[in-house]
């Protein structure tokens, strides 16, 4: 049987991926597809790497040995995911050093949630439970990405993420069944994180206007992802006696969730590098990148 030939024509390629066709590293691909792919995947890698920073402080402060181990393992996974993701980007043609340089120079983006501060152990639970949940919804949709090397690493990523949510929920449960002060910590963290969580999946651009969907890099629209998040997690939040800080949030009879319009201006402001912690975190990264350049030179030199 002859191997499937990727058509060397943008329109035919579009039809090919929309029919479920898979693309490998050495296949022909339109320049626009390659460029969008690199940008999307790179942003994912940057997000995994930047996501480490808000969480790593709490590894050091974990209140039990078990929590310390679990949080270290969770953050380790995120670094591992960054490694998997940057390898995919490298094989597409953009070297890791360039990705990291662009990141610390503020030229590349990463997800909104990692630009915000973490203030208490309550944040640790909310992030591991709800931020990871929002991310996993997107990640599961990426299992069907037209670019096969990326779809393949998503399998490993989704498998490793499965304990993160359980860990997060466990942290939350321990606190909501603990002292009133601990319960308050969770509610207060939820109050702060709800806005960014609602913005996380992006503004509701219709699927057919989203180039990422047209190229089948994403297989799910932004609003679809958000609805999935609300459907899955609002009941779980409420059953603990926690309040979601949106008075307009409600589930309609047709199953769709209504909510207050997320602050899209805030999202844009934050992802373009103006979040409350953006500067500080990029500077921290830059410091270690520069400080340890000699190690990379010593290790990777011939």
């Amino acid at each position: 049987m002859a191997a499937v030939e990727i058509p060397r024509d943008e329109q035919a390629f579009l039809e090919y991926v929309q029919a479920g066709g898979q693309v490998e590293t050495t296949d022909w691909m339109p320049d626009d597809y390659r460029a969008k792919l690199i940008k999307f995947i790179e942003m994912h890698g940057n997000s995994e790497l930047m996501g480490v920073l808000p969480e790593r402080e709490w590894i050091l402060r974990a209140p039990t040995l078990q929590r310390k181990l679990a949080l270290t393992a969770k953050v380790q996974d995120e670094v591992g995911h960054a490694q998997l993701i940057y390898r995919v980007v490298e094989d597409l043609g953009k070297p890791r050093e360039q990705c990291l340089a662009d990141l610390v120079d503020g030229k590349a983006k990463f997800h909104n949630v990692f630009h915000y501060p973490t203030k208490t152990w309550g944040d640790v639970g909310v992030i591991a439970w709800l931020v990871d949940a929002a991310a996993i919804i997107s990640q599961k949709a990426l299992l069907k990405c037209s670019y096969a090397p990326y779809a393949r690493i998503m399998k490993k990523i989704c498998w490793e993420e499965s304990f993160h949510i359980l860990h997060g929920r466990d942290v939350i449960l321990a606190m909501v069944t603990g002292t009133p002060k601990q319960f308050e910590l969770v509610q207060e963290a939820l109050d702060r994180w709800w806005g960014p969580l609602m913005q996380f999946h992006g503004n509701p651009i219709p699927k057919n206007e989203d180039p990422m969907y047209l190229w089948r890099i994403k297989s799910q629209g932004n609003e679809e992802a958000r609805q999935q998040f609300l459907e899955g997690y609002v009941p779980q939040i409420r059953e603990l006696g926690l309040e979601v800080p949106d008075p307009k949030l409600r589930r309609r009879d047709d199953g769709a969730w209504e909510y207050s319009e997320p602050n899209w201006a805030e999202l844009k402001h934050v992802v373009t590098g103006h979040g409350p912690k953006t500067e500080e975190r990029l500077a921290f990264r830059r410091r270690f990148l520069e400080q340890e350049q000699w190690v990379r030179d010593a290790v990777l030199a011939a």
């Binding site: 790497l49 480490v52 920073l53 790593r56 709490w58 590894i59 050091l60 402060r61 974990a62 209140p63 039990t64 040995l65 078990q66 929590r67 310390k68 181990l69 270290t72 393992a73 953050v75 380790q76 995120e78 670094v79 591992g80 960054a82 490694q83 940057y86 890791r96 152990w121 942290v171 321990a174 606190m175 069944t177 603990g178 002292t179 002060k181 601990q182 921290f284 990264r285 270690f288 400080q291 340890e292 000699w294 190690v295 990379r296 010593a298 290790v299």
Partner: protein, 210 residues
């Protein structure tokens, strides 16, 4: 091994694991970041196992690990040092692994079966730590900053072991024996570390669940 010495071992692993976990996310290479984090987790795991041995089946290992005052910890000064540069970090890893191997080997002969058994388990896992430390030592041994770091940390490394075991350490590392910076005292860095390590735990009454 008496309980004080066992506590010293557990505290060494806890504090070194805590220090090593500071590299999570900022190690010089992503692949190394992942590997280094496993080492830190193993160390915390070893600490936990030794605390559990000390407190017994019904005891609270977390309380022993995290509810003491800084002066009550029995760790060696080597592990307390805040060393957020790679040359010193690897120098400490390498020196510690050599010292620890000597200590663990002796512990495997302990008359208490539970202790000897735990030492054997720890030893099997440490084999990978030693491979890792050797690998980096090979790669960095010609770098001036690394050699300098080893020399700076050498007196602290000697302090990890009791006097009767230091001879072997001297032989293996190949440096001239010097005045050790002994276990028993603490650096200023421990108080700062303790503050951060226990702040969340101390924010709730003793016995609170987390």
């Amino acid at each position: 091994m008496n309980e004080q010495a066992l506590l010293g071992l557990a505290d060494d692993e806890l504090v070194l694991g805590w220090r090593d976990s500071e590299w999570t996310g900022i190690a010089p290479l992503l692949e190394e970041d992942v590997a280094f984090s496993s080492i830190a987790q193993n160390e915390i795991g070893h600490a936990r196992a030794v605390y559990e041995l000390i407190v017994g089946a019904d005891g609270d290992a977390d309380a022993l690990a995290l509810d003491r005052e800084p002066e009550e910890y029995r760790c060696a000064p080597l592990v307390e040092l805040h060393l957020l540069d790679w040359a010193h970090t690897i120098a400490r890893r390498w020196l510690y692994e050599v010292a620890d191997e000597i200590r663990i080997t002796a512990l495997k002969e302990d008359p208490d079966a539970a202790t000897a058994g735990l030492a054997a388990k720890i030893d099997r896992e440490e084999a990978y730590h030693r491979m890792h430390a050797e690998m980096w030592h090979e790669r960095l041994r010609e770098e001036p900053c690394f050699r300098q770091a080893v020399e700076e940390l050498w007196p602290y490394a000697l302090g990890v072991l009791p006097a009767e075991l230091r001879g072997e350490l001297v032989e293996r590392v190949g440096l001239v024996e010097v005045e050790p910076i002994d276990r028993g005292g603490h650096t200023e860095e421990l108080a700062l570390l303790w503050e951060e390590m226990t702040m969340v735990r101390r924010s709730a009454p003793s016995g609170a669940q987390w």
